[in-house]
């Protein structure tokens, strides 16, 4: 569908929010807790904040939770009986306050989970999620969406995108049918489109390179020492992967409790030293340099090759969260200059 533009008054925003809530949907929106802001289930707009560049963690957990059940089982003398995951328990969810970079992350996630076979649980979650984006008026030095195909006002990935105007009112862009459905909850709040230019209300993020440049350089310098050098500081934690909107590596575990149990899927990270360790003790990605290269290659080379989508949206979360200051933008700029 073509994008429809409306004006939503500043005061109308909380009414819209309440209407969504009243419709029975779960709303997850950015909440400030201590010094980090993250998505959490909320009851009213007052509980949320709009003072954030990005949330500490991405919004991906709405569709790819950090722990999720795949199926249950019951053991008996006669064997094991499987109990399918009850998809009806997945709620209709509205993700409110998603930044354009974050919204762009759902596409690569979807590409991974539905690459060969359809991941029903993931797809159901995604289908029941409506993304209400808010364009960026602020950016910081870790942001580089414009270098990886995005921009602070990009509509890609969002179902509905709000851009705050100079007077505090919002430009609402309805991008998908799901967005339309939100509008339908309170059509009276959606007024005629404003005249003010969207662009003048957006943050400026300077473009440093293109994804294609990175892809080419990374592939060309696969054997270079640059990976090793960049990874010297890295302390092998999983923070970057866990805050990333597109990182989709997971581990499968069975958790038993007497005769009952469940198979669960949980986040994992290619940065962990045990990630590729074989039972034999051999580890094909033995050093942190190789693991770091894998992370970059996967996002900039393997994914576009296999899934025709790049795995980085330039949100800069990994750089902000890294305890050892492994700054992705800085590193990509080094690579591009090779």
């Amino acid at each position: 569908m073509t994008i429809e533009k409306y004006l939503v008054k500043k005061a109308s925003l909380s009414t819209l929010f309440d209407k969504i809530k009243a419709s029975g949907k779960t709303i997850k929106a950015p909440v400030k807790k201590r010094h980090t802001t993250d998505f959490a289930a909320v009851g009213s707009l007052d509980e949320t904040t709009d003072d954030y560049i990005t949330t500490a963690q991405s919004a991906k957990s709405a569709v790819f939770p950090r722990v999720e059940k795949l199926f249950g089982y019951v053991k008996s003398k006669n064997g094991v009986e499987l109990v399918d995951y009850d998809l009806s328990t997945i709620p209709e969810t509205v993700l409110w306050g998603v930044r354009p970079c974050d919204a762009a992350g759902f596409d690569p996630l979807n590409a991974i989970f539905n690459w060969d076979i359809n991941d029903v649980i993931f797809s159901t979650r995604l289908a029941r999620t409506t993304i209400v984006g808010f364009a960026c008026a602020k950016a910081d030095s870790s942001c580089f969406c414009t270098s990886v195909g995005g921009n602070p006002g990009s509509t890609a990935g969002s179902d509905l995108l709000f851009t705050k105007l100079s007077n505090g009112d919002y430009l609402a862009e309805i991008i998908t049918e799901k967005g339309k459905a939100i509008q339908a909850l309170a059509p009276e709040l959606f007024e005629a489109a404003p005249s003010e230019e969207k662009e003048q209300n957006l943050a400026t993020v300077e473009q440093k390179f293109t994804r294609e440049e990175i892809k080419a350089k990374a592939e060309q310098y696969f054997e270079s020492d640059v990976w090793k050098e960049q990874a010297q500081r890295c302390i092998s934690c999983g923070t970057c992967a866990f805050v990333c909107p597109t990182c989709a590596c997971f581990d499968i575990q069975d958790e038993g409790h007497g005769k009952h149990g469940q198979r669960i899927r949980i986040w994992d990270s290619c940065g962990f030293s045990l990630f590729t360790q074989h039972t034999s003790g051999h580890n094909p990605r033995e050093t942190q340099g190789r693991r770091w290269r894998q992370r970059v290659m996967h996002k900039f080379s393997y994914m576009p090759d296999r899934q025709s989508v790049y795995g980085c949206v330039g949100c800069g979360r990994c750089s902000r969260a890294c305890p050892a200051d492994m700054n992705l933008l800085e590193h990509l700029q080094q690579i591009v200059k090779l």
């Binding site: 993250d38 963690q57 957990s61 939770p65 950090r66 059940k69 409790h257 149990g261 469940q262």
Partner: protein, 149 residues
Amino acid sequence: MNEFEPKIVAFVCNWCTYAGADLTGTSRIKYATNVKIVRFPCTGRIDFMLLLKAFSEGADGIIISGCHPNDCHYTSGNFHARRRWVMFRSLLDFMGIDVRRIQFSWVSAAEGAKWAEIVNSTVETVRELGPYSDYQKVADFLKTEVENG
């Protein structure tokens, strides 16, 4: 519903308390059925993680018992254990885990009657505290819907 019957697990050393509990038996001293004994070579062997496992598996109370100081079959396993418990208890208490549910004791091979008393008093204490549902709720990931950040 019947009165709450607490589940108690006892981690005991082979040489003193297990033998002491044997003596309780040979002396035909009765005690509550709630307790189940797990035999270890020495209190020094008892991993603190096993206590957590016992709680997560549904125990409402735990008894840890071994040789009196200086009586350890291995000379000092109980001393090591005691130090570990001091720290562990403090940590659990700090984190809001109810240490009243963990009874530490020294029961020698000659203290059959003491063993029965320890079991009975622990059962009573835990019965009053009620089921440890706070912990079991956290542990029961089968019923907890997936959590996400």
